[in-house]
Point group: C2
Chain length 453, copies 2
C-alpha cells in the first residue's frame, strides 16, 4: 500500500486547489431547464479534461453539447465515466443562505447549485486522475468520459447520442455520475435506477380569462378541467388509475427484499429532514417503507398553475391551467408506453381537451449485484471508508443508465461524494469536503484495481 | 322638457372637462387586492365631492377608508348613491394596449383600469350634479354618497360600517354602483345580485419541497392533496358536493322565468366574446342558459399554485399548494353557512389538512320589480335611451347590496355607463363616452323625478 500512501498524500495536499477548480465550475451557471449557460459550461469542462491530457470532443446534439474525452492507459481495459455538467434551476432564490452561483465555503462544506449534483463528482474524479498521473506518468487503464448537459431535464437527446456513438463509447465498465454515503457514513452501492416519464398537462377553455360572476355556472373552467383530469390519474388511495400502467411491473425478488432488509431504517430521518408528517399507504417504516420508496412506480404532481395567484382575491374564471407531472418507472415499464396509456386514458375519461407535452423520459435499468466489477468497487471502498460498500439493488431517482446497461451492455456502479444532507435539487445544495476527498481516493483504488484485473 | 334641453346642453358641452376629471381619478391606482393607493384615491374622491358643496367625511374602517358625502336639496326625500373607488389588479400587464393607469382616449372610448368599474360611474354622476346645480342652484333632493374602497375584495369591512352607521345612511332609495346597456343598446335594470364566499384553500405536507425520486411513492404531496380536496367539492358533472349547499336555494319563480325569457339570446355573444367553446350541463342557449347563469350557485377555481411553474421540467415534490375558490350564492344562501359547511365537508372527506382562509363574502339580495322607485328609474330612462329599461330580476355578479336591501331596507336600482365590451376585470378595460353622457343625463332625470315625487 506504499503507492497509496504517496497518492493519499498528493490528494490531501491538493484538495484546496481542486476545490478552487470546482468553485470556478460552479460559478458558471448551467441550468438545462432554463437553457442557461450550457455551451459555456461544456467548454469549461472540456478545458479541464484537456489540461489532463485527454483528447476532447465537444459534440453537438439537438440540445446541449456532450463533452467526450478519452485518454489511453497501461491496461487494455476501458472505464467509461458518466457525468453531467447541467444543474437544477436555483429557484426559490430567497431560500438560499448564499447566492447559488457564488460558491461559498462554510464549516467544511461548499455551498452552491451543482456542487453535489453533479459538478463535485466531476472535479473530484479529475483530482484522482491528477494523482494517478503524478505517480505513474500514465493511467492504469483507458478512461473515457461522457459528460452531458441535459440530465436534469431527463436527458432528452442522450438516447440518440449513445445509439449513434456506440463504438466511441465502447468500454468494459461504467462509473455512474453519483454515489456517496448514507446517514451512518456507510458508502452505498446503488445498482438500479427508476425510469421517468415527465409531462406537462394543459387545458385551454376560452381565449381570455372571464369574470367568475358571469361564467361560473355556465362556462367551462380550465382549472376545474385540470383538477378533474388529474384526479382521474390517481385517487387519494394512491393507486394510479391509468389502465395497463402496472402490467409490466416486476415485483422485487426475495433477494431484493434481503438487500433492502439489510439497509438501515429511514423513517425517522425522512420525517426529521423533510418535515414530512406521515407516510402514504399507512407505511410507518421498516423494509416495507424502503421497498415502497424504490420498487413502486409513481405519479407525482411537480407543479400546478392557473388563474390568479397573487395576494388577496380576484374573481376570475381561468381560461388556462397546467400541471407538471412525473411518473417514476420500474422494470419493465417504458416511458413511451406510459405516454400512450396516458393519452388513451384521458380520452376515455372525457379529457380529450387536456393536452400532453412530453418533456422527457427514460426507462428504468438495473445492474446485477453479482457482476465482478460490482465486487471490485465494493471491496476497494473498504480501505477508504473503513468498511465495505453496502449494496442497494434499486433507488428512487432516475437517470439514463438504461442506455449504458442495455445498449452499451456495461455493468454500471455508483460512487461519489454525496450524503443525505446535500440538498440536491433544493436551496443550499452543498458538498462535504471530507467526502469529496474520500471519493477521489476511492476512484484511485477503483481505477488501479480495474487496470490490474 | 325645456329644463332638460338646457341641462342636456350643459352636459354635452362639459363632457370633455368631466373626462379630464375622470382621467385624473383613473391615474391614481387604487388596487384593493394589493393594498395599493387606497387612502390617496379616497382623498381624491372626497376632494371632487367637496368641490360640489358636499359635506365630506373620510371614515376609517379596519380596511380602506370609506368616503361619505351629503348635500341637502329641495325635497325631503333622500337618495343614497353607492360607488367604490377601488379597482381590480391590472395584471396581466402585457395584455394591455396602453398602460392601465395612464388613461388613453381612442375611438370614443377611454381605456384604463377602473374606467368602467367603478370610476366612470362616479364621475358621470358628479357631472349630473354639476348640471343640476348649474340650472337650479340646488339639488332636487337630498343626496348621500357612500364610496367604499374594498368592493373588489368582497367589501370585507362594509358590513360593520353600514351596521354602525345606519342613521347616517338613512335614505328613501339607493342607486347602485353599476349599470348600463346590453349588446342591443337597451338599458338594463338589474334587480338582484348573487352573493359570494371567497376562500383560499391551502395544504402543507412537509417543511421543504423534496426530490420526486425520493418521496414520490411514500411522501404526502401537497399538490395531490389539494387536487383531491378540490375534486371532493365538485365533480365533472358540475354538481357541488358539499352537503347542505343547495338546501336554502330558492328556485326562480314563474315571474322570474318570464323576465328572463324576455331577455335576448346570449349564447353566440358569449362564444364570440370570450372564445368559450361550449356551455356546461349540455346548455346551448335560450332562457335555460340565462337562468343557469344567474339563478344557480357556483363553485369556481379562480387560481391554482404549487411547486415548479417555470419552463421545462423540475423533478420536485411540492410541500405546499393552494387554490383560490369563489362560491357565488343565490337567495337564501349565506357565506358564513357555506364556510361552515365547507369545513365540515373537508373534514368528513379526510381533508382536515386543508386550511381554509376566508377572503370575504356577502349574501345575495334582490329588489322587488314592483317597487315604485324601480318604475321611476325604468321610465326616466326612456327619453335618454329612446326606450325604457328592461328588467333583469337577477345577475351573476356580486356586491354588498344585501346591506342596503336588508339592513337599510331600501329599493336598490342599477344605472350606469356600462356595456358588454367594457372588459371590466380584464386587460383593456374601457368606457364608451356616449354611454357616459347618457348615464349623466339619466341621473339628472332620476334625481329630478325622485325629488318631485
Amino acid at each position: 500500500m506504499e503507492g497509496f500512501a504517496h497518492i493519499n498524500n498528493y490528494l490531501d495536499t491538493h484538495l484546496d486547489k481542486s476545490i478552487n477548480e470546482l468553485s470556478r465550475l460552479v460559478a458558471q451557471p448551467s441550468v438545462s431547464a432554463q437553457n442557461w449557460g450550457l455551451p459555456e459550461c461544456a467548454d469549461l469542462v472540456a478545458d479541464m479534461l484537456h489540461a489532463r491530457g485527454f483528447d476532447i470532443q465537444i459534440m453537438t446534439t439537438d440540445g446541449a453539447p456532450v463533452v467526450f474525452a478519452e485518454r489511453s492507459g497501461r491496461s487494455d481495459r476501458t472505464m467509461l465515466i458518466y457525468n453531467h455538467y447541467d444543474v437544477q434551476p436555483p429557484e426559490p432564490l430567497d431560500l438560499w443562505d448564499s447566492p447559488p452561483f457564488e460558491p461559498s465555503l462554510r464549516d467544511g462544506k461548499l455551498y452552491g447549485r451543482g456542487v453535489a449534483d453533479d459538478k463535485g463528482p466531476i472535479v473530484s474524479r479529475l483530482l484522482a486522475i491528477d494523482a494517478l498521473l503524478e505517480q505513474d506518468g500514465e493511467l492504469p487503464c483507458n478512461i473515457k468520459f461522457i459528460i452531458e448537459g441535459e440530465e436534469e431535464t431527463s436527458s432528452v437527446h442522450l438516447h440518440d447520442f449513445v445509439e449513434q456513438n456506440q463504438e466511441l463509447l465502447a468500454a468494459d465498465a461504467c462509473i455512474w455520475e453519483f454515489g456517496g454515503v448514507d446517514h451512518r457514513e456507510t458508502p452505498m452501492q446503488y445498482l438500479g435506477l427508476r425510469g421517468i416519464c415527465y409531462v406537462e398537462l394543459s387545458v385551454e377553455t376560452a381565449k381570455v380569462d372571464t369574470h367568475s360572476g358571469t361564467g361560473g355556472s355556465i362556462f367551462p373552467n380550465a382549472a376545474w378541467r385540470l383538477v378533474w383530469a388529474l384526479r382521474s390519474l390517481k385517487g387519494s388511495d394512491g393507486r394510479i388509475r391509468i389502465p395497463g400502467f402496472y402490467d409490466p411491473v416486476i415485483q422485487p425478488s426475495p433477494r431484493d427484499r434481503q438487500y433492502m432488509a439489510a439497509l438501515p431504517e429511514v423513517a425517522d430521518e425522512f420525517k426529521e429532514r423533510f418535515g414530512v408528517k406521515y407516510f402514504l399507504k399507512g407505511l410507518t417504516g421498516g423494509v416495507d417503507l424502503r421497498i415502497a420508496e424504490v420498487f413502486e412506480p409513481t405519479c407525482t404532481i411537480c407543479g400546478l398553475t392557473s388563474g390568479y395567484q397573487g395576494p388577496g382575491s380576484k374573481t376570475v374564471l381561468p381560461a388556462r391551467a397546467s400541471a407538471k407531472v412525473d411518473f417514476r418507472l420500474v422494470p419493465d415499464q417504458h416511458p413511451l408506453e406510459i405516454l400512450d396509456q396516458l393519452r388513451i386514458h384521458l380520452d376515455n375519461q372525457g379529457f380529450d381537451d387536456v393536452q400532453i407535452e412530453y418533456l422527457g423520459g427514460e426507462p428504468p435499468a438495473r445492474t446485477d449485484p453479482d457482476d465482478p466489477f460490482v465486487k471490485l468497487v465494493v471491496e476497494t471502498a473498504e480501505p477508504v471508508y473503513s468498511r465495505p460498500m453496502q449494496i442497494v439493488p434499486m433507488v428512487g431517482g432516475s437517470g439514463p443508465s438504461y442506455l449504458f446497461v442495455h445498449l452499451l451492455k456495461l455493468p454500471v456502479v455508483t460512487a461519489g461524494p454525496g450524503y443525505p444532507g446535500s440538498l440536491a435539487h433544493a436551496p443550499n445544495e452543498n458538498l462535504r469536503l471530507d467526502l469529496y476527498l474520500k471519493h477521489a481516493k476511492h476512484m484511485v483504488h477503483i481505477l488501479k484495481a480495474f487496470g490490474e484485473a
